[in-house]
């Protein structure tokens, strides 16, 4: 990542509070509007971010009770990095759409990632015992 990109980053630390994901959506919406994204793409970004936040809130069990968001603005793409310092999980499990079934409470995370992958153009997830980092990009 070059210096120019680093200059176009916005960082946000989110405490784990009820419905706090809505505040995060306002941030991503404002950034995407600033970048002149189309309305429909902004809506996709908002929902993807909601799902990412919910996943982290429900499953990370992070001791610091925080979520670290970074928004990287590039010419025609917006990348959002969502990081928690939680317990991590087996990302291979989530890749299996046969296992990830719809509505059971224990599988809500599966729906979230599936939605994120459909709403965003690029998605990458890394998870280990030190936490989880989700990197998702929307192209204009």
């Amino acid at each position: 990542m070059n210096l120019k990109h680093q200059e176009n980053e916005i960082e946000l630390v989110v405490p784990l509070l009820p419905d706090i994901e809505l505040m995060a959506t306002r941030t991503v919406s404002a950034i995407a509007e600033y970048m002149s994204f189309e309305t429909d793409k902004i809506e996709d970004l908002k929902l993807a971010l909601i799902e990412a936040c919910i996943n982290a809130f429900e499953h990370s069990k992070a001791k610091d009770n925080k979520l670290y968001l970074k928004f990287i603005m590039q010419e025609n793409r917006l990348t959002v990095i969502i990081k928690d310092n939680g317990l991590g999980f087996d990302s291979g499990y989530l890749e299996n759409s046969e296992i990830v079934r719809k509505k059971r409470p224990e599988n809500k995370r599966g729906w979230g990632l599936m939605l994120i992958k459909n709403l965003m153009d690029e998605v990458h997830i890394e998870s280990n015992s030190g936490g989880t980092t989700l990197i998702m990009t929307k192209i204009k």
């Binding site: 509070l17 009820p18 505040m23 996709d44 799902e51």
Partner: protein, 120 residues
């Protein structure tokens, strides 16, 4: 802080002869989904089995809220009922398709179009 961020969710029910319109307002999360489910249960007990869900004032949802809607749809399928959604954003329509709601529920652009479909 919590009160500033948390969104309220409300429903307005318009009861017709053999169906009901439920107009939602706010974030369809777990609480919003449960509120819709409770209203549907109440109306089922009054022998209503067809519902129009108007999301004109609900442009934000999450997968937990939608999962609850799937349970509502399954319940209605069991009793021969149906849900008709209207005024969805493109993103919500897309999400409903991904999560399989469109297999058992219809989507209309407007409440009027949904009503016409029920009446016919």
């Amino acid at each position: 802080m919590e009160k500033e961020v948390a969104e309220t969710f409300d429903v307005k029910v318009i009861r017709k002869e053999n169906y009901a319109i439920i107009r939602t307002e706010g974030y369809v999360n777990n609480l919003g989904g449960e509120k819709i489910s409770e209203e549907v249960d109440r109306l089922i007990s009054e022998r209503i089995s067809k519902f129009i869900l108007n999301f004109e004032k609900s442009n934000i949802v999450n997968s937990i809220g939608i999962s609850i809607l799937i349970e509502v749809i399954e319940k209605l399928v069991d009793i021969g009922g149906k849900i008709y959604f209207c005024n969805l954003t493109k993103t919500i329509s897309k999400t409903f398709f991904i999560m399989g709601l469109t297999q058992y529920a219809e989507i209309f652009a407007t409440e009027e179009e949904a009503e016409k479909s029920i009446v016919v």
